[in-house]
């Protein structure tokens, strides 16, 4: 069996025992990339020579020594391009610094290996909105891998990466993890520094691990979590040992099933797989409790006001002046701004900038933005109330398995509504994870993965990972 199929924890044992070298792992990945990446399109770029050079000098005494990690292309890696899946940056942005997380990965001995495709500026649920290439689901090449971290998910699922980093603003780690059959962890807001992550919606974004096992998610989170003085939203709290409680099981824990997440619109086979996971956790000793999160139905409207509002502000820095796309022969400065942004941004980004600008504009600010922030409080309180009665919450990740590429091309509202299961945890700042829960047969005979979503209170990653480990197939 190729080393490319292995987990971080298995490879680390072999590396420490000197049974393999980091270069062996790179060679194995190079072979699978050569065989499969052209069809799947997970990577925007890899640099195998540089990876081998890093592998040759990797410090195997470090926690991730010799382990290659793929990076979503909205996270700065010193000296490498950072395109965010956008034409705006593809022509002219090389990261002049490391993100906090990429610095920590280097400190942990990891090999930074390849940049993965994504929806432009992380806006989307399909990786269809990348301006640079299409990424396909490794389980069915006619289908989406999910988004916006679809490149990272597809790379891990197809053994083109041992593990990867993604970013999650409204489900962008968990949803592609679910569609591709891997583990995807969105840490609590403030657990991981956002320094060096190109901002989409600053009050929602978090960087997190995408891995082949729950244990690997714990190992990777261990490496990237912790305070950072360069991010005022990163909490100054110690990082627990995330592997310490991993195998303690769920006996005696109370797990909540919110009735609002199992209503109409959930694919019956998705519901069946999630319910089977719930039954297995119950058999393992957990008490299953029905709960209510009454404002769930308002999560989509709330998110799609707040996120575009923050995006319209964050993306105002893309003005054609300091980096990226600049329109030729501008008549004046305003013409430069408007044409550079028109030329550089794709349709989804423009749509969200306009929506965000509108809801922040004078006369509409209170009607939309302030009201959405108040509803956000109600959604947060729903979770706070629920966690007074249960240790964690179990839900589907997405209402249906991966759809066909291009299916919702002209219907963004339909696409946005498919995010219903993942938006609430971001609005409330919770930690959340997607764990494989089985597969569903498609009409063309392929088997499409389905994920179980587990939610835990803010900063309760140890609880989250413990439940996830017990739920792991």
């Amino acid at each position: 069996m190729s080393l490319a199929t292995a987990t971080i924890s298995a490879l680390r044992k072999q590396l420490v025992a000197r049974e393999i070298t980091p270069v062996d792992i790179i060679d194995a990945l190079a072979a699978t990339i050569s065989a499969k990446n052209e069809d799947i399109g997970a990577y925007l770029a890899t640099n195998l020579d540089d990876a081998r050079a890093q592998a040759a000098t990797a410090d195997l005494t470090r926690p991730l020594g010799g382990i290659p990690i793929a990076i979503k292309d909205n996270i700065n890696v010193l000296g490498e391009q950072c395109t965010c899946g956008s034409k705006f940056l593809a022509k002219g942005y090389t990261a002049p610094y490391d993100a906090h997380v990429t610095g920590l990965l280097r400190d942990s001995g990891a090999i930074l290996f390849g940049r993965t495709n994504m929806d432009e500026f992380a806006m989307g649920s399909a990786t269809e909105n990348s301006a640079l290439q299409v990424t396909r689901n490794p389980h069915d090449l006619s289908r989406i891998p999910g988004g916006s971290s679809g490149g990272s998910a597809a790379a891990v699922a197809a053994d083109l990466a041992i593990a990867a980093l993604g970013s999650d603003t409204g489900g962008s780690i968990r949803q592609p993890a679910s569609h591709c059959g891997i583990v995807g962890l969105k840490p609590s807001y403030g657990r991981v520094s956002r320094y060096g992550l190109v901002a989409f919606a600053s009050s929602l974004d978090q960087i997190g691990p995408m891995t082949k096992s729950v244990e690997d998610a714990a190992l990777l989170l261990q490496a990237i979590a912790g305070p950072d003085h360069r991010d005022s939203t990163c909490l100054n709290l110690p990082v627990p040992d995330y592997t310490a409680d991993l195998h303690k099981g769920v006996a005696g824990m109370k797990l909540g099933i919110p009735k609002e997440y199992f209503g109409e619109g959930i694919h019956p086979e998705v519901r069946a797989r999630v319910e089977a996971s719930v039954k297995r956790l119950e058999a393992a000793g957990a008490e299953i409790v029905e709960i209510s999160l009454p404002h769930t139905e308002h999560a989509v409207a709330t998110y799609y006001i707040i996120a575009p509002a923050e995006a319209s502000s964050n993306l105002s820095r893309f003005d054609g002046i300091r980096y990226g796309q600049r329109a030729a022969a501008p008549a004046d400065l305003l013409d430069l701004y408007k044409r550079s942004r028109e030329e550089g941004f794709g349709p989804e980004v423009k749509r969200r900038i306009i929506l965000g600008t509108y809801v922040l504009s004078s006369g509409y600010y209170d009607a939309y933005y302030t009201r959405a922030q108040k509803v956000r409080t109600l959604i947060r309180r729903d979770f706070e109330n629920a966690f007074q009665h249960v240790d964690a919450i179990l839900t589907p990740v997405a209402p249906a398995p991966a759809r066909k590429i291009g299916e919702f091309a002209d219907d963004p509202l339909h696409e946005y509504l498919s995010d219903i299961c993942t938006l609430g945890p971001n609005l409330a700042g919770l930690c959340a994870i997607s764990v494989p829960a089985g597969t569903v047969a498609s009409d063309t005979g392929t088997q499409l993965p389905v994920g179980l979503q587990i939610l835990a209170p803010h900063m309760a990653e140890s609880t989250l990972l413990r439940v996830a480990k017990a739920a792991e197939l």
Binding site: I354, Y368, R371, K374
Partner: protein
Amino acid sequence: MASEHIKVSHVAGLARLELTDAECAVFQTQLDAILGHAESLAALDVTGIEPTSYPAPVYDVMREDEPRPSIPPEAVLANAPDQAQGQIRVPKVIADA
């Protein structure tokens, strides 16, 4: 909530985006649908509810006021679409006298 439709071409101007007429027409329909969905929030009673800007506390982080290394200017200028004399060059913004 607002009852009138979004004026896409006007808002695009505020957002410093030059859209084509075709883009305006497509976005008009799509954004009307999205804002129509958002109207559902108007039915909620949010009297006395504090807005949530961030789901966790935000700290002001202060560092010592002392010199320290920064990103090299040449690394920053390397990303600029146009540069001259160690500076980023932009279109003229001051009219001739």
